[in-house]
């Protein structure tokens, strides 16, 4: 994957497959210079079916997949690889019937850290194909925070579905604005 936004698009497919109705995506810039820490954290949480302990231990293996069309499943291994190759961290926790949480931490200044990418495009791709799922996007950085909750959007739209192109287009601009305001300057790489 070329950037984080593509990883997000990929990992969220797992949540959708796990019949999640609420999926939250958090991108957080944590600058704790005193501890020598300057990291970008990605946390994806869903309320899907979750995994049993035995399955949880196997999902990081590329030769494990739930699909029947082929024998490999690379979504999780690729994200783990992206995090570990820049000395970051990867954590996966899940409980049967209680959802799953994936955390990946990327040291911002590491030369091999992936760029953030076009998070707006990832979000509209997900939202337009899965209007019934509640997506929450939360960005946090030194400059403040930004939040988007598709349930809130759907409520303000009474009568108009969220997949209308004008709405999707507005969402894209809204998220792009958020990324620029929160991460522009700090990461200084919006949409690259």
């Amino acid at each position: 994957m070329r950037d984080l936004s593509l990883h997000i698009l990929d990992i969220v497919q797992n949540s959708i497959k796990a019949k999640a109705t609420e999926i939250s995506i958090i991108l957080k810039h944590e600058d704790i210079s005193s501890l020598g820490k300057n990291i970008l954290k990605l946390i994806i949480t869903d309320n899907g079916t979750g995994m049993e302990y035995e399955l949880l231990n196997r999902v990081e293996d590329p030769f494990m997949t739930t699909r029947t069309s082929r024998k490999v499943g690379l979504g999780i291994p690729l994200l783990k690889e992206s995090a570990l190759k820049c000395d970051g961290e990867f954590k996966l926790s899940s409980q049967k019937d209680a959802g799953t949480e994936i955390t990946a931490a990327f040291p911002i200044d590491h030369i091999d850290r992936l760029p953030v990418g076009d998070v707006g495009e990832t979000m509209i791709t997900l939202i337009s194909s899965n209007p019934e799922i509640r997506f929450m996007l939360f960005l946090e950085g030194e400059k403040g925070s930004f939040g988007l909750d598709t349930r809130e959007v759907a409520e303000s739209l009474k009568g108009v579905i969220i997949t209308e192109y004008t709405v999707i287009n507005w969402l894209k601009e809204y998220i792009d604005d958020g990324i620029k305001n929160i991460f522009g300057g700090v990461l200084n790489e919006v949409n690259c």
Binding site: Q13, R67, R70, E121, T125, S128, Y165, D177
Partner: protein
């Protein structure tokens, strides 16, 4: 900065347009969006379809995603299913090819044969 309040205006405008639409059975555009598709560039393809369809004000067309179809080496793959259930599978798609498919296949009803899975497989 944009605010959620702007949605009210969008809602009003959209409601005016919706009343003009018919409800006939539409055409479906399905983009493969699993790890293989995403890595091969399915996201820009899906965006190109959404943009082009909206630009041409085409009605009753839904664009959505699906998982892996099993032919990862041919990704990005796009299936177009018309109102009668006829399926056309386009392979190795790009945003440019998506524009062409919208114009030739969806608007003019002529399948772009050389972009289909059949054409790709017979090359061997």
């Amino acid at each position: 900065m944009k605010s959620i309040a702007e949605l009210d205006e969008i809602r009003r405008k959209t409601l005016e347009q919706i009343s003009l639409r018919s409800n006939e059975n539409g055409l479906r555009v399905i983009v493969g969006m699993a790890t293989c598709g995403i890595a091969a560039g399915a996201r820009p393809v899906m965006k190109a379809f959404m943009e082009e369809i909206s630009k041409r004000k085409l009605q009753n067309i839904t664009v959505f995603m699906t998982g892996c179809i099993g032919a990862c080496r041919l990704e990005p793959i796009v299936d177009i299913i018309d109102s009668e259930g006829n399926k056309t599978t386009y392979v190795k798609m790009t945003a440019e090819k998506a524009e062409r498919v919208v114009l030739e296949h969806i608007v003019n009803g002529k399948v772009c044969s050389e972009l289909t899975i059949g054409a790709e497989e017979s090359k061997k």
